[in-house]
């Protein structure tokens, strides 16, 4: 039953994505649950923050402030998060989040007011 609802939700999200893509930068894919949002924000602050800085102004990794992400498409950033980037210290975060969660994080970063 729960599975069924989830499938319907993601179909709805996909439709929404199709309708809205092009008109919006941050696509409203399936929003993570409130608990997952807390966990993802925690991960962003502490684990991403280990290299990109607690305030995301950069460290060993580049700054992730809205200005730095400007002009970089969502899917490019999602791929960077999920798969990492070869030849750099950026590891793949696939074991810790899925596509929609990465997309949601990018939305958080684009709006961040750190």
């Amino acid at each position: 039953m729960i599975f069924f609802i989830r499938v319907r939700k993601s179909i709805f999200g996909l439709l929404l994505l199709l309708i809205l893509s092009g008109s919006m930068q941050t696509v409203l894919a399936v929003e993570p649950s409130p608990e997952r949002q807390v966990a993802l924000r925690h991960l962003l602050k502490n684990d991403c923050g280990a290299c990109h800085g607690l305030t995301l102004q950069g460290g060993m990794g580049p700054a992730l402030l809205p200005d730095n992400l400007n002009g970089k498409p969502d899917e490019f950033l999602v791929a960077t998060i999920l798969n990492g980037r070869k030849g750099t210290a950026m590891p793949p975060w696939q074991p810790f989040m899925n596509h929609d969660e990465a997309l949601w994080l990018i939305g958080v970063l684009r709006k961040s007011v750190h």
Binding site: A50, G53, G58, G59, A89, P92
Partner: protein
């Protein structure tokens, strides 16, 4: 109200002055999100004071003046704060760069050097006044500045550091503060991420992220240049993801053996410093971050990158085997031994706690509260090269 407050603070400061305090068994605990430092007493397991408004301490390190009165805190945001351990107060604070990673105090205790990411380079300050004495941009050609990592002090009033983007090691001789002398070693390997110096101040070893092995500089024989050790240890195609860069600065030298975290492999490497060959690779559950020897060299303690960062492992140096796995709590970020090693303090970030262990029985002694602690530094570091 204001009057009462100022009266109170006057009385309190009087009290501090009246009560004699020694600083040899004190320490600093960093609270990353609060941007604060706790002054703690390691003998009494007590928090003495909290110093706030120290900026972004999401990554921070601390060195101590040789009289052990002052702690110098290097923050992520380029802040350099001088804390007075006698009077529980901030003595002076400057913002010396946009983004920085660590620092060191000179052999004679008069200079503080800071390694910066932005602008890439090293700045040297008077430890007394925090006035700028030398500015060394890490220029590696065409005005490009490299991030600087692995900054340590070395005998001969020198500092040694590595250029992350350039793959170079530089030594900086500050005997004449007006005339710094720089010696550069190029092509030492790709992406040095941190470095350590042996406790005798002879060997400087930089870990490489961009290729296999580590870069070794013998400071007694700098003419021999930089050698690569363990070049083939981790093959590029078998490299595991690294969710937190290991730290090398908490050196782990026990007798002839140097213990270092493998990078991209879940192992602690034991290297014989007579011939720089691998003695043993000890399997561990995750990517090691800090690999630190108890001061007597009998044990080596290891913590890990996420998702294995709830654990600590204790290696017995006698037979290079795992003695025990401890589970202090969520996000074990750092540890520090008491000067002679009978206890160790562990910072457990997500549990907001410091856990103190007896290193002989490996039993927990007590826990102290701290807000998101990410570093523990004791004043005994004042008299150790490289710390």
């Amino acid at each position: 109200m204001k009057k009462i407050l100022s009266l109170l603070s006057f009385l309190l400061s009087f009290n501090v002055l009246a009560e004699l305090r020694a600083t040899g068994d004190l320490g600093i605990v960093i609270e990353r999100e609060d941007g604060a430092a706790l002054i703690i007493n390691t003998t009494e397991h007590k928090q003495l004071a909290k110093i706030s408004n120290l900026g972004d301490l999401s990554h921070a390190s601390v060195v101590f003046s040789r009289d052990q009165r002052y702690a110098y805190i290097f923050g992520r945001d380029g802040g350099l704060s001088k804390i007075d351990l006698l009077q529980d107060k901030l003595d002076k604070r400057i913002i010396q760069a946009g983004n920085s990673i660590g620092g060191a105090i000179s052999q004679d205790g008069k200079l503080i050097a800071v390694s910066n990411y932005t602008p890439g380079g090293v700045k040297v300050f008077s430890s007394a006044t925090l006035e700028l004495i030398a500015d060394i941009p890490a220029d590696y050609g065409d005005g490009k500045l490299s991030k600087v990592v692995g900054l340590v002090d070395a005998p001969g009033q020198r500092f040694v550091f590595s250029l992350f983007d350039a793959g170079e090691i530089w030594t900086l001789d500050m005997k004449n503060p007006q005339k710094p002398v720089i010696e550069k070693f190029k092509n030492i390997g790709k992406l040095p991420y941190d470095a350590l110096i042996s406790p005798d101040g002879r060997y400087y070893i930089a870990g490489l992220f961009g290729e296999g092995g580590m870069a070794l500089l013998d400071l007694w024989n700098t003419g021999n240049g930089v050698k690569r050790i363990l070049p083939d240890y981790v093959k590029a195609d078998e490299k595991l993801p690294v969710y937190k860069m290991p730290h090398l600065e908490g050196w782990a030298v026990a007798g002839d053996y140097i213990f270092v975290p493998a990078i991209g492999k879940h192992e602690v490497l034991v290297i014989d410093k007579q011939n720089w060959q691998l003695v043993k690779a000890i399997p561990v559950p995750g990517q090691p971050v800090f690999v630190m020897a108890r001061p007597d060299g009998r044990q080596v303690w290891v913590n890990f990158a996420m998702p294995d960062n709830n654990q600590l492992q204790v290696i017995d140096v006698k037979d290079l085997s795992l003695r025990k796995t401890l589970i202090p709590g969520k996000a074990v970020l750092h540890m520090e031994f008491t000067p002679r090693g009978e206890q160790v303090w562990v910072a457990v970030r997500d549990d907001n706690q410091l856990v103190i262990y007896d290193t002989d029985t490996l039993q927990e002694i007590t826990r102290l509260p701290a807000q998101k602690p990410n570093g523990v530094f004791f004043s005994a570091r004042a008299h150790k090269t490289g710390l």
